[in-house]
Amino acid sequence: METMVNVFLFGKKYEVPESATIMTAMEYAGYQLVRSCGCRCGFCGACATIYRVKGDRELKVALACQTQVVDNMYIATLPFFPLNKQIVDINGVRPDDRIMMQLYPEIYSCIGCNACTKSCAQELKVMQYIAFAQRAEYAKCAHESFDCVMCGICSSRCPAGISHPQVGLLARRLYGKYIAAPSEQLEKRVAEIEHGDFETLISELMNRPIEEIRELYNTREIEE
């Protein structure tokens, strides 16, 4: 018989298996989830959850699908958090000093409390990447924020009302589009294909009898 623990879902007590995650504990308790459940593997950020273990002074936040329950856990899901998302025409902006100031001026209200970093389910240095954004160091901001799943927990804890995931996302798009060096080989290949350079090669292959294609496949040279 599996060991059971007590958890408190929105304050109500349920007995659930010790091995459960917060998400499967809710399902064990009988919840048929619609909100607060997405990929169930830690990538989508749908299941941001706040909890406190009884007696603990610290309020914790986590992804429900990636966090195992412990005894006397008080749990409240955060199914939606209203982030401030500014509309941007990615072709009309440039990664200059002003863009963040224009779109997300609240980042300059950061009081340095570090609550965002402490709360991040992905253990990112959130305050650090906001600091990079303040200084228009978008490459650093992009890399530092790269693993963000946009669950919004950081923003829920921010006294300055910053929408950290949106700032990181804009920095990443600016980096990917404008700052990272373009791939010349990619551009060349796209032009070659548009020019029809590979069409003969591929149609010759496609027009062969299936047995010949099979033989080509089975004997093809594999790059080391």
Partner: protein
């Protein structure tokens, strides 16, 4: 975290490690692969399939769980709906909020259409978001679309529809360029050179990646672009039936609010089904790497309206699903772990195969190791598993490689006290991808006029197995394709009167065939809430 038995087996893995470094592992011959698949791949377990009794694929076999839904009753069978009370009226209705749906919406919008997306969860709650390893495209000097075609055609057992596969590989480099220009952060060298690796079954290193958040990086960029274009997204709302017009053309969908149960009518000149896969149907009792909403809804909608499915009998079982601990059972361990040097090792510490065979062959080989060969490690999740030797990566590729190349994997295991840099991890196949699906034409259209389909909901692009990195490519190439086609077509459409007669007709077929399975479809979400025993 590991049990004493597991730790004892790890010692064998460690003992054999040095000898395994640099040792050449033989690839299976064509005959060996064939035999492995026939004996061990779940697609070949005849007793797990039923023959469809009605609909366009009547007489063909599909998994039991899919058959129940395809032969199920409509959710609106006994609901009185007034189709003249139109809540949404658009040019292009995109059903599904994943990568193909977002790509389609962006292109249709760019073509000037009034587009709306409807999704039963949120935009981005999709398998696209969870794709880890990468996206293929033949853009390197030593590569070509023809070479990509050969790899994918062979990997899919020569069953792909040639014209669709031709489009996939030929449009590949342009898809990468499109994403790059949207701001997707591909792994690059400082000079801009794309960093590419192998995937199972590739003959050239053409796997582009964004660490092991490739799908997430692509999906969140596409989502942002949809939002920037201010394309309306009706979320937490599912499409439960297609609406046709009296000329038999697509004309919209019946929508249902997932929280209130309220129905809404959407009229649309064109409809794009981009509803994704079916992992949450748990075929043959397998765990799945799929997102919560992967329940084959689009297949049911299209089938009921009369569209045939291509290869609905074939699924991809990803060879490396997490087999332990219980909390991450079935979650994906990206193929990239093998691409960067992870080796598959059995309980005795023996490397039992080349780690970069195609997914179906690798899955079959792992299943053989754990069954007939008896060289699996037992897990408390109710089965056995083999090791993926990850510390080897740090030895052969250098310290720090794991955190740099597969940070999500490292993070997932560290949650449970397993440091994959120090200890190997346990894996077993997990239900990963729906190889088959809605049959489409080259422009993304289906046999019903003005109805399009894209992404994992489609069958035929890859054949009977899909290579790693060709799905992210597929959702971009064919998502954009469907969006462009619908974005061109809607301008000339004058809709006739809307009707649900096809739903009534299908119900009659169910009755006539004497089917009484009691299932209602589409399923929308798996039923995971524990039912209290009385």
């Amino acid at each position: 975290m590991y049990t004493p038995e597991m730790l004892a087996s790890i010692q064998k893995v460690e003992a054999s490690r040095e000898a395994r470094i640099g040792a050449e592992l033989k690839r299976f011959t064509a005959q060996e692969k064939e035999d492995l698949l026939r004996t061990y791949h779940p697609d070949f377990k005849q007793e797990e399939f039923s023959e469809l009794r009605i609909g366009p694929n009547k007489g063909e076999r599909v998994p039991h769980e899919l058959a129940e839904l395809l032969e199920g009753h409509s959710r609106i069978k006994d609901v009185k709906l007034d189709l003249s009370r139109i809540d949404y009226d658009v040019d292009v209705l995109v059903i599904g909020g994943g990568g193909s749906g977002a790509s389609a919406a962006i292109e249709a919008h760019a073509a000037g259409a009034n587009v709306m997306m409807v999704t039963k969860l949120r935009i981005g709650d999709a398998n696209s978001m969870m794709a880890e390893g990468g996206i293929q495209a033949a853009d390197k000097e030593n590569d070509s679309p023809a070479q990509h075609y050969l790899d994918a055609f062979g990997g899919g057992h020569f069953a792909a529809q040639p014209e669709l596969l031709h489009k996939l590989v030929t449009d590949g480099p342009n898809a990468i360029k499109w994403l790059n220009d949207l701001g997707v952060m591909f792994d690059k060298e400082p000079d801009g050179t794309m960093i590419t690796t192998h995937g199972g079954g590739t003959s050239r290193k053409r796997m582009h990646a964004c660490a092991d958040y490739s799908g997430a990086e692509i999906m969140r960029t596409l989502r942002d672009e949809v939002l920037n274009r201010e394309i309306p997204i009706v979320d937490f709302t599912s499409a439960v039936e297609l609406i046709l017009d009296t000329n038999g053309r697509a004309a919209g969908a019946v929508l249902m609010n997932m929280e209130t149960g309220e129905y809404h009518i959407a009229r649309a000149k064109t409809v794009i089904i981009a509803t994704g896969g079916a992992g949450r149907l748990h075929y043959q009792g397998f765990p799945t790497s799929n997102h919560y909403g992967a329940t084959a809804d689009g297949l049911v909608l299209a089938y009921r309206a009369g569209v045939a499915l291509k290869y609905p009998d074939t699924q991809q079982y990803h060879p490396t699903g997490a087999a332990f601990p219980m909390q991450i059972f079935g979650c994906l361990v990206t193929e990239k772990v093998r691409a960067i040097g992870g080796m598959l090792v059995n309980a005795e510490g023996e490397a039992f195969m080349h780690p970069l065979e195609t997914r179906d062959v690798t899955a079959a080989s792992v299943i053989r190791e754990c069954s007939t060969n008896g060289k699996g490690i037992e897990t408390p999740c109710g089965g056995s598993a083999v090791w993926l030797d990850t510390p080897l990566i740090e030895i052969t590729k250098g310290k720090g490689t794991i955190v740099k190349s597969v940070p999500a994997m490292h993070r997932m295991y560290m949650q449970y006290g397993i440091d994959m840099r120090e200890q190997p991890i346990l894996i077993y196949p997990t239900l990963h991808y729906q190889n088959g699906g809605i049959q489409i034409n080259l422009d993304g259209s289906t046999s019903i006029e003005n109805l399009y389909a894209a992404g994992e909901a489609v069958g035929g692009i890859h054949g009977r197995n899909r290579l790693m990195g060709n799905s992210l490519l597929d959702i971009i190439v064919f998502g954009r394709n469907a969006g462009k086609s619908a974005g061109a077509k809607y301008k000339d459409i004058k809709l006739g009167e809307m009707t649900l007669a096809h739903v009534d007709r299908y119900e009659q077929e169910i009755q006539d065939a004497g089917i009484a399975n009691g299932h209602i479809s589409p399923l929308l979400l798996p039923q995971y809430a524990r039912v209290q025993e009385l």
